[in-house]
């Protein structure tokens, strides 16, 4: 890797959900260790229910954890903060704010002057291709546009690490492919450090420098697959015939399949 500083460090992280009714607890994560370097995009794949969202919520500071350690830029995670930006799976942009007010929301919270906010908002509106829709409300946008707006909102707040939880799972296949290519371009242009969670093997292989495959619940880091293709070269047209891409995708697929069958046998 070209970068040397780890922006996000997770050591020995475990998580149990208490069950209010039975008193038993759900073991969601077991001994997770990972490092995210500056400018890197790391994807996490695993069977449904393996604890991916749990990991993301802990890193976002939305879920308190007891065992293990997680830190961003050397600062231990103790709650939500603007150093970590989250793109949620559902459409989490606020319906009562226009596109530009949603995108500038993080800066508004930080108390930046109005002119500065609108200047930076315009920059990200253009970057994600929402020009002309600045004054629209979310219900007037398509699913893909809503997620573009959500990505722009997180980028505009300029977090140290971006956490994305299956952000493209709810859009149609055609839009998803476009969004993946756009995210790749934008991530490179803004040099963002990103943890990208998905259940799609193709998506994980396409976007990532490294792909972390999780085991079935309790989620453990099963294997790391490094995708050795320059990210600048990644467009779907090329990938479908790229030997390295096919190798990585098949490898990830095989690893995930093993886990899915484990989950079914249980």
């Amino acid at each position: 890797m070209n970068a040397m500083t780890a922006k996000l460090v997770v050591e020995g992280l475990c998580h149990h959900y208490p069950d209010e009714y039975t008193g038993e607890s759900v073991h969601a994560l077991e001994d997770i260790n990972l490092e995210l370097y500056e400018g890197e995009l790391v994807s996490v794949v695993g069977p449904s229910g393996c604890g991916k969202s749990t990991l993301l919520n802990i890193l976002a500071g939305l879920l308190p954890y007891k065992v293990g350690k997680a830190s961003v830029d050397g600062k231990v995670i103790e709650g939500p903060g603007p150093d970590r930006g989250v793109v949620f799976q559902e459409h989490a942009i606020l319906p009562w704010r226009t596109v530009s007010r949603n995108i500038g929301h993080g800066l508004e919270i930080r108390g930046l002057p109005k002119e500065e906010i609108s200047r930076r908002v315009q920059e990200y509106v253009d970057l994600v291709g929402l020009s002309g829709f600045e004054d629209k409300y979310p219900h007037e946008l398509s699913g893909g546009m809503k997620q573009r707006c959500a990505v722009a909102r997180t980028l505009c707040a300029d977090p140290i690490v971006m956490l994305m939880d299956e952000p493209f799972a709810a859009v149609d296949a055609q839009t998803r492919i476009t969004l993946q290519e756009e995210l790749n371009r934008i991530a490179l242009a803004t040099k963002k450090t990103i943890l990208f969670i998905t259940h799609s093997v193709d998506e994980a292989a396409f976007l990532a420098d490294r792909c972390l495959v999780f085991s079935a619940r309790p989620g453990r880091l099963k294997q790391i697959v490094t995708v050795d293709i320059p990210r600048e070269k990644r467009i779907w047209e090329n990938m479908n015939a790229d030997a390295e891409f096919i190798r990585c995708r098949d490898e990830i697929l095989r690893l995930v399949r093993e886990e899915v069958s484990v989950a079914i046998e249980e």
């Binding site: 939305l62 939500p80 989490a92 319906p95 009562w96 929301h105």
Partner: protein, 287 residues
Amino acid sequence: MTTAVTALSTSIQRRIGRQKLRKFILGAIPFVFLLVIWQMNTAFEWLPPVFIPPMGDVFGAIITLQEDCIGLIGAITMHNSCSMTNNIFSSMGRVILAAVIGLPLGIAFGIIAGMNRTASKFLEPIGVFANSISGIAWIPLAIVWFGVGWLTTLFIMLNTIFWLMFFNSMLGVRGIAKVYEQSVLTMGGSRMDVIRHVYLPGAMPSIITGMRMSMGFGWRALIAAEMVGGDSGLGFMIFTASEEFKIEEVFLGVIIISIIFMATDRYFLAPLEKWTIERWGLVWKPT
């Protein structure tokens, strides 16, 4: 002649919009029907004028009630002789006062109870208790406490408005998707940011429903309170008129009450709804 009518009709349609015109005409039909029946009753004397006065008498009552009132100035300064307008202003004044105090308080407490478990455990039982004794059932007690007068009517209204607003706002906040709050928190937002940017606008559909209910039930409670425990206002006017068998004044009072209420809904609540939840796509709209 026909061309002139057609021209007029198209120009009206162009100005107001076809859809709106249609809505207006459809909504007006039941009223026209009522007025026709009323007029026919007078003509054929199905029911004697002691029960249903002629329309003319009802309008005549305006003049009787405002007899020595010196024009607009008299009405505005609430001169003694302007009894109809005085009663209107008196009722409206109380409604506005109760709304200005009761709505924000109900919203504030509702939001607090909606976002905080302890607060809701604390406030909900007392709210259920207060709601179980519906607005007007408090009148006898209020008269004992505050005597006959504006304090009693204000208390009755506040009691009605506050709890309805409280419950609606609370349920509104609880119904907001968690992810909105989380997204504000992950952008570094404070509790206050969450309240201002998520709870308040997110609960708006419920808050507006709450306002509609509060104002509806509040008005009704006020009229009832004025009848029994008031010394002025439209309810008081209706009550004294009926005791003196002035049926046309009773009719006038009822009509004024309905008109004021419809105007409140149309010129205050409906625009508020349009400017907020309709614009945000939070209301179901027939397509």
